[in-house]
């Protein structure tokens, strides 16, 4: 039976942008090879972690939303575990509310991105490096 899944994984911050993209490609290929249909993917870039994982305080987040057989998840997670560049992963199956939410979220992000590119030359976002602890 085909199911809707969403998977988020965190890669180590020691990777370069290039290596990070390569890793993402690799997992994308894993999914496609297994016959999954990728509905959506998002790269959140380098993000601060709320608590250290493997002595790292930040990581590259990436999200895939895909439709596939349940067995694909097992293979994907095996690949996650084999790859030492992946620090954490989470795969969840989505119910109908989650799917509706994901779609709404996607559209919202698209709109926001469109608005940003429009407004970018006019108003640059203020720098946020005044947050000293």
């Amino acid at each position: 039976m085909l199911n809707h899944y969403e998977t988020v994984f965190i890669m180590t911050p020691v990777l370069s942008e290039e290596q990070m993209k390569e890793t993402v490609k690799k997992f994308e290929k894993v999914l496609l090879d297994k016959g999954a249909e990728i509905v959506h993917q998002e790269n959140w870039g380098l993000r601060k972690l709320e608590y250290p994982i493997a002595k790292k305080t930040s990581g590259f987040y990436h999200l895939f939303e895909f439709v596939a057989e349940g067995s694909v998840v097992k293979d994907l997670e095996l690949q996650y575990r084999r790859d030492e560049k992946v620090m954490r992963y989470l795969t969840v199956s989505m119910d109908k509310h989650a799917i509706a939410y994901a779609e709404k979220r996607r559209n919202l992000r698209k709109e926001r991105a469109a608005a940003e590119t429009e407004a970018a030359p006019v108003a640059e976002q203020p720098a946020e490096n005044t947050n000293n602890e």
Binding site: V8, I10, E50, Y61, V92, D95, H97, A98
Partner: protein, 91 residues
Amino acid sequence: MAQQTDIKYLTPIAVDIRKKKYCRFKKSGIKYIDYKDGEFLKRFVNEQGRILPRRLTGTSLKYQKKVAQAVKRARHLALLPFVTDNLKSNN
């Protein structure tokens, strides 16, 4: 002779009229609670990062379960801390 009913108070007695709690998800028709939105989930945890009970937030049982699930998922992905101090103040 002053009768008991004649007692007057200088300050009115504090009768606290509590506002009725309601489930914000039911009220605003939210069907799915996103574990990826750490900022939103922070409303349902206390300063130490513990999940707040239903009796404080007013969330209905159905959605409390979903909130708890979402918070736990967010913790796994380091979007929320397991334990901390002053979660609210340094953000």
